[in-house]
Amino acid sequence: MMTPRRMRTHDPERNAAEYVSGEMGGRRVRRWFNAHLLECEDCWREVLLGRLGRRLATDIREVAPSSLRDRVRAVIAVESRDAVERPRRRGLRRGRRQ
């Protein structure tokens, strides 16, 4: 089988990273790598570990505590009150531009 030029260097780490991220470019390259996976133990193992690692990395997503939402809203409210007061002092300088 023809090996696309950029795949000629065997780099299980980089190949697996791209493959698992769904970023392996070009249909020909993907086809080559899929075939290669069947015969290369190293790449196959790296792809399996990469997949598992990616799954683990996303498995532990959590929901933000609702108290945190309230806290953020409160902080933004305070900040926007400040903002109403502060520009008023700067208002003259700003007015010219607007």
């Binding site: 780490e13 980089r14 697996a16 990273a17 791209e18 698992v20 991220s21 970023e23 193992r45 790296e46 399996l48 570990l49 990469g50 598992l52 690692g53 990616r54 683990l56 990395a57 996303t58 498995d59 532990i60 997503r61 959590e62 929901v63 933000a64 505590p65 945190l68 939402r69 806290r71 953020v72 809203r73 902080v75 933004i76 409210a77 900040e79 926007s80 903002a83």
Partner: protein, 175 residues
């Protein structure tokens, strides 16, 4: 609509993501919440100054990451007492199936521990690409490194996570 309303409408839906990013940048739960708050405050200030992004989510992630990086450096200088708080936070979850939730909590705290065992740049690569959905090219721009470096950090991080979870990695080794 006021600036504040527009900002909240545009950003509050991303809070779970920002929270999870923050969870990967600092360890103690109270620091995580502080970091999320700082992120939203910094974002709101930029928003008021009309520095508004095309896409809100990657923008918030980037702010959180940058704040988190400097914060993490400060925090890691101080002694850590965290193992317990990882678990405390994790047991918060459950309502229905408590047994399953407890199992999930144990696995989750193991996962966090595994993640904290990674070098920072691997954890950041995983946070950007796997958690936040950045392309590796965007992650490279964000991290200021060539894409090849991101690919290798990403893969090493994923592999380390997999291998640090022996129960799950057995699936791979047994093949």
């Amino acid at each position: 609509m006021t600036d504040r309303d527009a900002f909240l409408r545009a950003t509050m839906g991303s809070m779970d993501l920002v929270y999870n990013v923050a969870r990967r940048m600092v360890r103690a739960p109270e620091d995580v919440e502080d970091l999320v708050q700082e992120t939203y405050l910094a974002a709101f200030r930029a928003w008021k100054d009309h520095r508004r992004p095309d896409r809100v989510e990657p923008w918030l992630v980037t702010i959180c990451l940058n704040l988190g990086r400097s914060r993490y450096r400060r925090l890691s200088a101080r002694p850590r007492e965290v193992e317990l708080s990882d678990v405390v936070q994790d047991t918060r979850a459950g309502d229905q199936d408590t047994e399953r939730d407890a199992l999930a909590a144990v696995e989750r705290s193991e996962l966090y521990r595994a993640m904290w065992a990674l070098p920072e740049e691997q954890r950041v690569a995983i946070t950007l690409v796997d958690l936040s959905g950045f392309s590796t090219a965007d992650a490279a721009a964000e991290m200021g490194t060539p894409r090849g470096t991101v690919l290798s950090r990403l893969h090493r991080g994923r592999r380390a996570l997999a291998l640090l979870m022996p129960e799950r990695a057995r699936e791979v080794n047994d093949r």
